[in-house]
């Protein structure tokens, strides 16, 4: 029974990792930009939610509705005025810029919010759980997984059912040709980063309720997001969800053997997937 419980908890954890990774996957899929500041942007979003919740006395779940548009604007401005300037054939400049951005965000938050450990307080729901037979499933982890599925479903709908999604895919495939067809790649990029920030805000909500955060905690959370994206296959959003779950379950199983193996097991699963399927589980296109 403990094994079933371990796997269930691992799947639930995978939901959180998938949320971390979805924004990253989106940005990478469309503009081949590795955003090293993604973890810090999630933490930034958590602080935005915290500020909204504190200033207006709102429940975090309501505050996120205000924080999401704010973060969309942040993403849009970031892409338009910073990242678009360095995007080009060379992948190194944008990488370095996001690295610098990570340092700037961390220290900016440290200046503004001090190093205090913060947490979003969601009330009694935090400790609530549902009994499924002998297994107790926490309501918050379950909500996290459901949200991850909803977010990824919504992003997929956006990608394959809307005009904007067509523009996304076209730009991703060939930005120059898409430009000839009247699409402005830079606009598309700005909107994509904005949407990625909305997803990051949702991730921040669940991260902030699950554990404490402080300005410097972002990068530690980023590595699982990267792994989830790679395991799932670049550009595939459902793959990202699968990747998150693979890492979550691997960590859970590793910990059940010995907690020393917990993090390592996630990394081993990552390496194994790369060895067997170097392009990830569900690669989207040949590029």
């Amino acid at each position: 029974m403990i094994w079933v419980d371990t796997i269930v908890q691992g799947v639930l954890l995978g939901g959180l990792y998938a949320l971390f990774a979805a924004g990253l996957s989106l940005v990478f899929g469309i503009m081949r930009l590795v955003n090293l500041a993604h973890g810090d942007l999630i933490v930034l979003a958590a602080f935005v939610i915290l500020t909204m919740a504190g200033a207006l006395g709102l429940h975090p779940f309501v505050a996120v509705l205000i924080a999401a548009p704010v973060m969309f604007a942040v993403g849009w401005l970031l892409q338009t005025y910073v990242l678009n300037r360095v995007l080009g054939d060379d992948i190194l400049p944008p990488l370095l810029v996001t690295f610098g951005l990570s340092v700037v965000i961390q220290n900016g938050l440290l200046e503004g919010f001090s190093a205090d450990s913060q947490k979003l307080s969601a009330g009694p729901i935090e400790a609530a759980s549902i009994k499924l037979g002998p297994i107790a499933v926490g309501v918050m982890p379950l909500l996290t997984l459901v949200s991850a599925i909803v977010v990824i479903f919504a992003l997929n709908q956006l990608f394959y059912r809307t005009k904007l999604g067509r523009a996304f895919r076209a730009t991703s495939d060939d930005a120059v040709t898409a430009g000839l067809m009247g699409i402005r790649p830079r606009n598309v990029f700005a909107i994509a980063t904005g949407i990625a920030m909305v997803v990051a805000t949702i991730a921040a909500l669940y991260l902030g309720i699950r554990a404490n955060f402080d300005p410097t905690i972002g990068p530690a959370r980023l590595i699982y997001a990267f792994q989830a994206v790679i395991i799932g296959g670049l550009g595939s959003l459902w793959g990202t969800l699968a990747g998150g779950i693979v890492i979550g379950v691997a960590q859970g199983l590793g910990a059940a053997i010995n907690p020393e193996w917990q993090i390592l097991a996630g990394h081993i699963a990552f390496v194994l997937v790369l060895l067997i399927r170097p392009r990830g589980l569900f690669p989207r296109a040949n590029d």
């Binding site: 440290l110 450990s117 307080s121 400790a127 926490g138 554990a211 402080d214 859970g252 910990a255 917990q262």
Partner: protein
């Protein structure tokens, strides 16, 4: 342009002055370097620094000492701590260094200063990682050497283990203990043969230790399952705050309800406890300093309560434990400066600091006492440790109530221990 004549004159004047003047002219400036983690993950330890240093410089000036404190930030990084220590010694030419908070800060600074023969007063790191961590070969006790220039005051692992076990002795439990020890310096020390397991075995407790986990782990189901299976009434650990929050929330979700939770490190600061909300009520931790400690500052004559009160007015935030210790660092510094014939002489200062016998805001500080093993006596002065329990107030803030004082009976209890369930 400097003419030859002028050069000869100045040279002669300098030579003359160095002969004629006593080594230390009263009224000349004494430079103290101060290193602490003011930014980065450890910066919660440094919240009281500005207040303490401002106060100290003012007090020292009132007593006729011209003291400059040069503050450096270790950025919570041991390499950076070593770098700023070297800067203080070489560029700023400080005469004395005070250093506080966690072995990651104190050890690099002390190692550099010991090599450069600059006296250091150090605190806020349990003495084992401080003393043993600086040895050339930590694994071989026979090779351990005392230090000449660096002095440290704080408590040790044995005190923390003792305080926790004294608390558990007060309650009625099945004596099953679940341990959450991370794979870092603290966790490994607690889990080692000099840490908790032998003490638990001697007192008849059964230990469930699932193993060392990595810091910033997102899932603790394995540990929770192990604790539930072994019916652990008592839970102990030394995780970092985010990990404890994750663990404790998950434990509640998955129905693990111990009677007593004693956690070191994660519950030191009121903010991290407040972050837990209702779930923070009645968790216990070690207490090194509180406004209820019956001590007085030798610097300002303030009681601990007055000191904490003034800090709260100044900083507009709740008192924190490092306040008393950072204050005491400068008490010891000024005491040694007062006794010195030449406070700028490192050798004399190191000797005088070692001979300190001072009642401070954190209790008596005196090196060479027999409450630590002989090898560490010249460098370690132990301060008292008691046990506290966080109580949630109606307004959502938390009060730290002292519930155990077996190791330091002079510190009054302010409440009785309550169980969680």
């Amino acid at each position: 342009m400097l003419s030859r004549r002028k050069f000869m004159q100045t040279g002669a004047a300098i030579a003359a002055s160095s002969v004629a003047l006593p080594a230390f002219a009263a009224g000349s400036k004494i430079k103290i370097g101060y290193v602490s983690p003011q930014s980065g993950p450890l910066s919660a330890f440094a919240q009281a620094d500005t207040y303490v240093i401002e106060n100290f410089v003012k007090k020292a000036a009132e007593e006729g000492f011209d003291i400059e404190v040069i503050v450096k930030d270790s950025q919570s990084n041991p390499n950076r701590a070593a770098e700023v220590a070297r800067e203080l010694i070489v560029r700023d030419e400080v005469h004395l260094i005070c250093v506080a908070s966690t072995p990651e800060t104190t050890n690099p600074v002390c190692t550099i200063a010991e090599a450069e023969e600059i006296p250091v007063i150090s605190s806020v790191a349990p003495w084992q990682p401080w003393f043993i961590g600086q040895q050339g070969n930590p694994a071989d006790p026979a090779s351990w050497q005392p230090f000449d220039y660096v002095h440290h005051f704080f408590w040790g692992l044995e005190d923390n283990v003792g305080v926790f076990m004294n608390m558990w002795a007060q309650i009625d439990s099945n004596k099953n203990v679940g341990a959450l020890w991370p794979n870092d310096g603290d966790g490994n020390a607690w889990a080692s043969e000099v840490g908790m397991p032998p003490a638990l075995a001697a007192a008849g407790y059964n230990l469930t230790d699932p193993g060392r986990f990595q810091n910033l782990t997102d899932d603790f189901s394995a540990q929770i399952n192990a604790f539930k299976q072994n019916n652990c009434d008592i839970m102990v650990g030394i995780p970092i705050p985010p990990d404890f929050t994750t663990f404790w929330t998950q434990a509640k979700q998955q129905g693990y309800n111990p009677k007593m939770v004693s956690v070191a490190k994660a519950l030191l600061f009121p903010e991290s406890v407040a972050a837990l909300g209702d779930l923070g009520h009645n968790l216990t931790c070690e207490v090194w300093w509180s406004p209820n400690h019956p001590y007085k500052s030798s610097l300002t004559g303030q009681s601990c309560a007055d000191l904490a009160g003034e800090f709260q007015d100044y900083a507009k935030r709740q008192w924190t434990m490092p306040l008393g210790f950072v204050h005491a660092l400068f008490e010891v510094a000024l005491d040694a400066i007062k006794r010195a014939s030449d406070p700028t002489d490192g050798d004399e200062m190191a000797e005088l600091i070692g001979a300190t016998k001072l009642d401070t805001a954190v209790g008596l500080i005196q090196w060479g006492r027999d409450n630590v093993p002989p090898f560490a006596q010249p460098n370690i002065s132990k301060t008292p440790l008691v046990g506290g329990q966080w109580r949630r107030q109606d307004d959502g803030s938390f009060d730290l109530v002292i519930v155990e004082n077996g190791l330091a009976p002079e510190i009054p209890l302010t409440g009785t221990l309550e169980t969680l369930s």
